[in-house]
Amino acid sequence: MLDWVSPGMNGVRVRRFATLGYVVSVLVLVLSACSPASAIPAFARKYGMPCSACHEAWPKLSPFGQQFKDNGYQLGNDRDAPIFQQAAYWPIAFRITPNWHMERNENTVVDGAGESQVLATVTTRGFDYTGMDILTAGTLAKNFSFLLVPSSDETGAFHFESVNVRFDNLLGTPWLNVKVGKFELDNLLSEKRIVTLSANGGFYQNYHFQPWLSPGLPSPSYVFGLGDNQLGIEWMGHSANDRTRVSAALLQGTDGNPDFQAGNGNAAGRAYEGYIAASQAFEAGSLGLQRVGGFAYFGQAPTYPQYSQGGAPIFGTGIGNKPYYRAGFIGMWYLKKLDFTTMYFYGHDNVFLATGTPSNLGTDGLPLGAHAPSWNGALIETHYTWSPQLILINRYELIRMKQQTLDSNPGDLGNVDALTFGFRYYPFINTRAGFAFHNEYSIVWNRKVQLSPLTGLPIDQTSSSLFFGIDFAF
């Protein structure tokens, strides 16, 4: 049995978690009595292929699925254009996940007796459901493809997750494809293809990390998310067999938000950002297809906007741009049914961005001892694909600060460790719909990000998620 010692308002409390493994095992045993897996079922219906053809575990793409996507949602045998479909065919699908989940946040500052504040572990649990994606995609004509994804949050409030048109195989070459609109970045490890769903495990920590200004005080973040869909234009090219892939994108600095709004009250600027990615796959005998690649996201973000007479920032007027960048290398290593995805990550922010200092104040406006922060990150994600019906998932991510924003910060302020594991089980696979039991546990340790109201000293914060969901798409 494992003991988990956690500080709380009542002192040291012991939590026993050894039963977790047993719960997972029992659930899997119960579900194992079920047959052959399926993301955009509209494609499965169009082509009559099981979802497992394009997805190792949807939404994670297989090499065949990646090639299909890179070809503009075309198989390339002159049966792709809508004219070949029955008139009744409508390229539409949806995905949603009813679930039960538990969220636990330790070292959370809550009201105590009187007017005091104390640290507590806050736990919420219960039945819930995720947002919904409506997925429409396909070809408008040969070599003209589109993707439109109206997406709602849990409350039913809609936004457009993807809106793009792609011109494929221009001049008859697969090396010339152009996409315009809001789209998924051509990222080898795309957050839009993540196979984990929980609140803590449903995204890549590295892709959204921004350094803390000081303990208890998050960075006055500019809008950025490497895992988010972005607005812009992308050129992408690939070899006929998709072994070599390259892309470059010019993006609007709004993190994919329309109307020049950056969301969260941030002052979106008139700045553009760039994203480049390249990868090469090679065959390793019976082990499978290995792929290595790199990416870089670089851009500028405004440090202050222009204000209206009432004092509200005017969207799209952000100025005083300062640079930032993220870069990394990714490897996807296959050992037959076992595969590892590894990533090295590096991030760097300009000191004005990191401190939220308007650049027109100059260096005199910076806090004392301020530096441009930088950090390293790493990820290893393991999958064991027992069959197209069952995939076991394990992921470990870490972030280590290399240079803190302020000299006064602890050296490990903002460091992150995140562990996620679980499995997806598809009780049936067909060419019409997708259905999966999704079960996952995720825990994230954030270092020194909280100030203890008792001692005033920085302490760690830990949050975890337990998630049991029924993920389905039709």
Partner: protein, 298 residues
């Protein structure tokens, strides 16, 4: 901190090794292959393993070809070109004489190439080893692979020099062998017999339309076209002409057929259009295509 580290370590280990034993039976849920339980394929220096290919088949192929390989996948009823029946083990694209089994390499090339104008895509995204494994598994569906050996590939003599005379002679053979009856005088696949044709499963089948593309089902090279004449497309009305056409005549026919593909530049078409006769013929076809809209490419 030490305890937390211990916990992290244990969780990491547990998450990797928790493999419920009940799921070990999942791989066995799919129907058993008949009649051979295990086959190998040999393509170049690759050796395919049907046991591994089986997993790939049930990831990629069964939706059309069916769990039993009989072409009755759940999607088959909705396809106007029926998936291949691996139990019958009758294959169109071969390098071997009509009536014989194809070589492993023939099947491998079919997987790699796909079949244009059908729902069978190219599986070039798979690794060479994966394709070889799939070939091996496909061979476990039919007893023919146990009872018979693959045919011996037909010899393909070197292509003779392209000449106008060769093209003209090919045109004469096109008439003499009555290719036009199915493929039509202009190669559009609309000959007088076209609407009556069925395959070996009594399913309607359309003759190849040469004008649409230069990728025939069995490959796009001249050698591929040559092999189609000399091996036939088993299971279809397209017979083998190996007994009635000499190799040099077959090459002439290849050269002529290329001129029918007047939307796809080729040395044959260029040479043919360079003659007054050829220029007039091709121009007339293009005018007709525009008038009828038959060349519309969606």
């Amino acid at each position: 901190m030490r305890n937390i580290l211990s916990l992290k370590f244990c969780l990491a280990v547990a998450s990797t090794f928790i493999v419920p034993t009940g799921l070990l039976a999942q791989d066995q849920a799919a129907p058993a292959a008949k009649p051979a339980s295990h086959m190998e394929s040999h393509v170049g220096n690759l050796t395919g393993n049907s046991d591994v290919g089986r997993q790939l088949y049930f990831r990629y192929c069964w939706g059309c070809h069916g769990p039993h390989g009989d072409g009755n996948g759940e999607n088959a009823p909705y396809l106007n070109i029926q998936p291949r029946n691996f139990v019958a083990a009758v294959f169109k694209c071969r390098s071997t004489p009509t009536g014989t089994l194809p070589t492993d390499e023939d099947l491998y090339n079919s997987l790699k190439r796909g079949f244009n104008f059908t729902y069978m895509p190219s599986w070039i995204a798979l690794t060479a080893q994966e394709r070889a494994n799939l070939v091996a598994f496909i061979k476990t569906f039919s007893p023919r692979w146990v009872a018979e050996k693959s045919g011996t590939p037909i010899p393909v003599p070197a292509e003779p020099k392209l000449t106008v005379e060769s093209i003209k002679h090919g045109g004469e053979l096109f008439q003499k062998l009555e290719c036009w009856k199915c493929h039509g005088q202009e190669g559009r696949g609309d000959g007088p017999s076209a609407s009556t044709l069925t395959d070996s499963n009594d399913q309607p089948i359309r003759p190849y339309n040469f004008t649409y593309d230069n990728r025939s089902k069995c490959g796009k090279t001249n050698q591929d076209l040559y092999k189609i004449f000399m091996t036939g497309l088993d299971g279809t009305p397209m017979p083998s002409f190996a007994d009635v056409v000499k190799p040099e005549d077959a090459w002439d026919l290849v050269h002529y057929l290329r001129t029918l593909q007047y939307n796809n530049p080729s040395p044959e078409l260029t040479l043919w259009e360079g003659t007054p006769e050829g220029k007039a013929v091709v121009a007339a076809k293009r005018v007709k295509e525009t008038a009828t809209g038959s060349g519309f490419k969606p």
